[in-house]
């Protein structure tokens, strides 16, 4: 019965996210401002998604971090939570939802195609450090997603397809500065994620770093993020170049978080 409610809440949340995203996209296309409706739909979707994750957690006894279905579901939740908070607190960036939500639609489709089996949490996953590690990772990805939305607007505005639809947003220079702020916050949280992960790995497997696929690619993502921020300062890059760098960091981070499980049996291979 609980599994039934859990699935119903998840589907309802996904439907609300899709409606919110569609309204945001149509709002940009039709030059309307349905921002309050989008915000309400996102918050409602998040509430139902939270309930679904909580019911599943209670039913199977472990958090959403074992199977691909759980990893995707919890990341859709956390990415949208960070994005919704930014959407709520920084009205200037609200049209970015038209760029961010299609990314979320892809993740939702992927989640629906993945197997929702229960999975088994290894005993080394029963530690507070896992939650801290994952929590920092989620904030990192969320802040980079907000920067991606802002960067997408900069790139769209410089293309010939925008048709003047983003003119009411701040200028490129200001958007670039906002995007930099989110990337800087992302850097702080990715650094914290690496430290918390190292503490967990030391306690669980007797080594704080082992160059497993996820560790290696997370470190490369961190390095590339630092590289992109330094490049911006060293060469005073244009908003367009900075936006392209943000996109590249996001792609690398996305491939690390969601691609490495395809070449590894567990999030940290052999470390169970």
């Amino acid at each position: 019965m609980t599994a039934g409610y859990e699935l119903q809440a998840l589907w309802a949340a996904l439907v609300l996210y899709v409606i919110a995203g569609s309204v945001a996209i149509f709002g940009v296309v039709l030059r309307r401002k349905p921002e309050r409706a989008v915000l309400a739909l996102l918050f409602l979707g998040l509430a139902l998604h939270t309930a679904s994750i909580a019911m599943r957690w209670e039913r199977i006894g472990h958090g959403p971090y074992i199977t691909m279905f759980e990893i995707l579901s919890s990341n859709i939740w956390s990415l949208l939570l960070v994005y919704t908070l930014a959407y709520w607190r920084i009205p200037a960036i609200r049209p970015t939802a038209a760029a961010v939500m299609p990314i979320m639609f892809v993740m939702m489709g992927w989640m629906l195609m993945s197997n929702p089996y229960d999975g088994h949490a290894p005993s080394t996953y029963h530690t507070i450090w896992l939650f801290i590690h994952i929590g920092f990772a989620k904030v990192f990805m969320g802040t980079v997603l907000v920067a991606v939305g802002i960067s997408a607007i900069i790139l769209l505005r410089q293309s010939r397809y925008h048709g003047g639809r983003f003119t009411r947003l701040p200028d490129d220079k200001r958007l670039d500065e906002l995007s930099f702020r989110f990337m800087a916050i992302g850097l702080i949280f990715e650094s914290l994620m690496l430290i918390a992960g190292a503490i967990w790995a030391q306690d669980a497997w007797g080594r704080y770093w082992n160059w497993d696929p996820l560790e290696t690619w997370s470190f490369l993502t961190w390095l590339f993020l630092i590289f992109s921020l330094h490049l911006r300062v060293a060469y005073k890059t244009t908003p367009r170049t900075s936006a392209l760098l943000v996109m590249a960091v996001f792609i690398l981070a996305f491939l690390t978080f969601f691609g490495v499980p395809f070449i590894s049996e567990s999030p940290h291979k052999g470390a169970v």
Binding site: R89, A92, H120, S123, A184, S191, Q202, D203, W205, A234
Partner: protein, 322 residues
């Protein structure tokens, strides 16, 4: 002239080059099977030079305390990693139930400056339990151990997942490797004391169908081949179970042309003595790790992130987000 070189080393453009070199070093290390310490050591050395030079020449570090502390913390991290790599020890051992650690490691990897006190470590495996969920999914490991601390006081405790035994700076972690260990006593014909020994059969359940091992009794020149046979299901895929030694089993021992099935208390004659089978126990695999820089590394990492957050906070609070 020297100042010009230092200025060049301090440039942000050089930082970019160094970051690319570090990334390349990481990829080389990740893809290579052999030792590739140089691939990371060289760029990290250049990275420290770059940071040092930047602190010396760039006036922004005199104005921005968090930025200065962040860069100093980064230098500390690089130096601590280097010292850690020179003095660390990583190893693996297996101990049968009741067996004392003898400082002989099955596998060892250590830095050239490791002058540790592994031979002073005294600890023994007092047995363990491991829960398994249906589907033979490994659960909680509870391993009782006995050890002597730095003052020589004997202590008892429990280690397992997320809890290591720490003695003389060495951390002992239980691993997923464990199995069965037939225990023997070797009585040499040449006289002298009888010696006890344990055969560590291949890990169970990973090598469930190859529970055999060739072994030379301590002090003997003869090899024996030992195979454990049992019919009962230890780890049931259908329900929750616990790792344990089988209650009934046969131990097949082959020495040259002779093949015998032994029970506890029975023995087999070898060319240079008698091998007596005492019974079946379990063995546990441990990972050993030593690196005295770890707490300092953690403190430097936290300091670096804290200073970075402090720097960005000051920078961003000048102008509102909206």
């Amino acid at each position: 002239m020297i100042w010009q070189w230092i200025s060049k080393l301090a440039s942000l453009k050089f930082t970019l080059v160094v970051l690319v070199l570090v990334g390349t070093g990481v990829i080389i290390s990740y893809r290579s099977e052999g030792t590739t310490t140089w691939a990371l050591a060289l760029p990290l050395f250049l990275f420290s030079l770059n940071l040092f030079a930047a602190i010396l020449t760039n006036p922004v570090f005199r104005r921005q305390m968090p930025l200065l502390m962040f860069h100093l913390a980064l230098i500390a991290i690089v130096l601590l990693v280097a010292v850690g790599r020179l003095s660390y020890l990583k190893g693996r051992i297996e101990l049968a139930e009741g067996e004392e650690f003898s400082a002989r490691l099955a596998e060892v990897e250590k830095g050239p400056w490791h002058w540790g006190q592994l031979d002073q470590v005294s600890f023994s495996n007092e047995g363990f339990t491991i829960e398994y969920a249906p589907g033979v999914q490994r659960g909680k490991t509870v391993n009782s151990v006995r050890w002597r601390d730095e003052q020589g006081t004997e202590k008892r405790g429990v280690i397992g997942d997320m809890v290591a035994l720490s003695v003389h700076g060495y951390n002992f972690y239980t691993s997923h490797n464990k199995g069965f260990a037939p225990i023997f006593t070797w009585h040499p014909d040449a006289g002298g004391p009888s010696v006890a020994g344990a055969v560590h059969l291949p890990a169970y359940p990973r090598h469930e169908y190859s529970q055999a091992q060739t072994w030379t009794p301590p002090g003997s020149k003869s090899n024996v081949w030992v195979m454990l046979q049992f019919d009962e299901v230890i780890l049931d895929p259908e329900k929750a179970s616990e790792f344990r030694v089988p209650t009934e089993h046969k131990l097949v021992v082959r020495a040259g042309e002779e093949r015998r099935e032994l029970g506890p208390g029975e023995s087999i004659r070898l060319p240079d003595g008698v091998l007596e089978y005492n019974g079946l126990r379990s063995w546990m695999g441990y990972t050993i790790f030593y690196d005295f820089t770890l707490p300092w590394l953690l403190a430097s990492g936290v300091l670096a992130v804290g200073c970075m957050a402090w720097y960005f906070w000051r920078k961003f609070s000048v102008r509102p987000w909206n």
